[in-house]
Subunit: 402 residues, 2 copies
């Protein structure tokens, strides 16, 4: 019984290494898992028989002699469906082990509200199609979704979705029902998932303490403390966008407060500062300000500097509180951060304690707008990685479910 | 070998339960440690032989029949020396298992600077006396110290002690050398240790996510995330006192910045707001403002309200970031919090997201000014609790060291 648990755990851990590493040698697996070579080979053999990994020669080693084999994830057997409800679009993807996006569907979504029913209808339709087009022997092993709002841990209930005006909407349950795959849907907040994805596959690989800021209409946050996402007492921590930075002169915030970080550095604040008309909004409008600043437009540059000053105060506060190894700017902040990096750095130098900031690295997201989708895919894979062979044994092939 | 490690771990875990619980029944130990009764009894017997615990009848059960025995820590055998370098005093204590202060020495320390040499001289003298007066068969099993500044993890180096003007001073090493007990000194930041002590023995017992704010000249912080102290990438997180809350109109802060939480709610801010002369400072002066406000003095009440508003902004930000189960006000904040609780609560209601604040409890410190000393004692006990019998075997009795 205990032996069986240890073996299951080892199989899962090995698959996780291969899934996240993309290509790992037997020797590296042996070292990381502290298991001897014959045990590692037995685990690889099990996963190979299950169709989840394959061994092959490393590409382009160019060394003399026989190179040692590397283990790679097999992308044809197991996949997850990943969904992303962002402020301006709905995305669905079929994602293989190794985080490879095999296929995707995307729809623009109107800014002005959309009810649960409509959003779920679009996503479920995408999901069923992606599933229907998978090879007959492929197995859908999980479903994950990213949502731009506060999600109750456990059941995927949207507690508060400021953008769509959702309060207590059973998004995860409803999407699961409409997909009709008999699989539960794991839902996470977009910035939380973006942070995990950047740590697992992006700019923050191997950082145990990092902060991810996700810009869209507002600013979301995912904070990794000691290798784990900070969740707080009931799963609603990390709301760095609602840190008050401008208490007495602040812009109104969608949350009902004033002077929140997201009110001062969010999309509207930037577009207003750049003198853009109220009808303009969205990623393209934000990128246009960044592009204009790049081309030397003084109004756009001044807008970035002003917003960068507020962002810098927020990041300085986060350095003092979290002493992070890295701060990552994602979503639309990835577009505008380069034009405001000097202000952000100046504020950190002025407002964060030297010991709390001396080693911090500031980076833009490596995964770009797909960070949230990648995080959703990881949610979907979590069951398989906990017990690969058990999950495969319990999963019917796609052909049997159509 | 593995068996031996498991046994050592079990002995330590049982001692920790008794040390923190004060009095624990065999049944409770069996349940908490998931071990059967005979294993628990064997572990208790080992610790009893070592003189670290004793079994006795529970006090005042008043029930008929034979009550079951409880296990208590034995206070005569093992003790630690705990030191506290606070902004206005130096404290040393001999502390027994169970956190019982057996003996203590305390000296007022002048506000205006003191060099490492002088501080260590006073503490080492206290320590040697406390040690010299211990019973001959008692064992000093560790030394812990709390310091009002930023401490490098590992070696007790004071990286930054704003109050004494210390930068990179080898406090832990020097205190260890002067004590001459052949024991290393574990040093921690006072607010970090206060947070751990409140979680282990105070207001926050059993809370896995809590924030401790420690007021003295400034405001220090200890933040527990998922049961562990947030340390950050290099051990310098939790500096909530330097979160900027008033960026453009803020008071100057000792750190060189402006508008930090501690600049707005620290001792000087309060005393200035209450119109107290610049010569007044310290705990008594702060308490006098709280007392005056209690007696209905409008200027003192107004000062508390104003400071409470800033404190509330800071706590609202912390709720959004950490979604804590509890926020604890310690040090001088314990004196003044009751008079500003309404402002703090109003700010939290206005500036923290409902889901992030709906379950948070606000409390004053249960351990009072001794929270930091209690935390230092726990640092001292950490070695013993990891391997009780091993540490005892390696420790010479006090009589042999005098």
């Amino acid at each position: 019984m205990v032996q069986e648990e240890i073996r299951r755990n080892n199989v899962g851990t090995l698959l996780r290494h291969v899934h996240l590493g993309g290509s790992v040698s037997r020797t590296a697996l042996s070292e990381r898992m502290r298991l001897n070579r014959s045990t590692i080979m037995a685990l690889i053999a099990e996963l190979t028989r299950a169709g989840l990994v394959r061994e092959e020669l490393p590409q382009g080693t160019g060394r003399a002699g026989r190179p040692s084999l590397v283990v790679r994830p097999e992308s044809g057997r197991a996949y997850v469906l990943a969904f992303d409800v962002a402020v301006d679009r709905l995305v669905a993807a079929r994602v293989a082990l190794g985080g490879i996006v095999l296929d995707r569907r995307e729809a623009v979504r109107p800014r002005a509200g959309a009810d649960l029913d409509r959003v779920v209808e679009v996503l479920a339709e995408f999901g069923r199609r992606l599933h229907g087009e998978a090879p007959p022997d492929a197995l859908c092993v999980g479903v994950g979704a990213s949502y731009c709002g506060m999600i109750r841990p456990g059941d995927g209930m949207v507690r508060f979705g400021p953008d769509l005006g959702w309060v207590d909407q059973a998004f995860g349950a409803e999407l699961g029902r409409r997909l009709g795959l008999g699989l539960p849907v794991s839902v996470g907040n977009e910035a939380h998932l973006g942070a995990l994805a950047e740590q697992q596959r992006g700019a923050g690989a191997n950082f145990q303490n990092l902060i991810y800021l996700h810009g869209d209409v507002g600013v979301g946050g995912g904070i990794i403390v000691g290798g784990k996402l900070l969740d707080g007492d009931s799963g609603y921590g990390c709301e760095l966008g609602h840190m008050v930075v401008n208490p007495y002169d602040g812009r109104p915030c969608g949350c009902g407060s004033h002077g929140c970080l997201e009110a001062e550095v969010g999309e509207r604040a930037l577009l207003d500062a750049a003198g853009r008309p109220a009808e303009l909004f969205g990623r393209d409008a934000v990128r246009a300000v960044a592009d204009d600043a790049d081309r030397g437009d003084p109004a756009a540059q001044e807008a970035l500097h002003r917003i960068g000053d507020w962002l810098g105060i927020g990041v300085a506060n986060l350095c003092n509180l979290f002493n992070p190894g890295m701060v990552i700017f994602g979503g639309t902040l990835r577009e505008i951060y380069p034009g405001m990096a000097a202000q952000v750095r100046a504020r950190i130098a002025a407002n964060a304690l030297p010991v709390a900031r001396e080693r911090v690295r500031l980076r833009t997201s490596a995964l770009g707008y797909d960070a949230t989708l990648a995080g959703a895919a990881e949610l979907g894979f979590s069951g398989l990685l906990a017990d690969p062979l058990g999950v495969l044994a319990r999963t019917a092939p796609c052909s049997a479910r159509r």
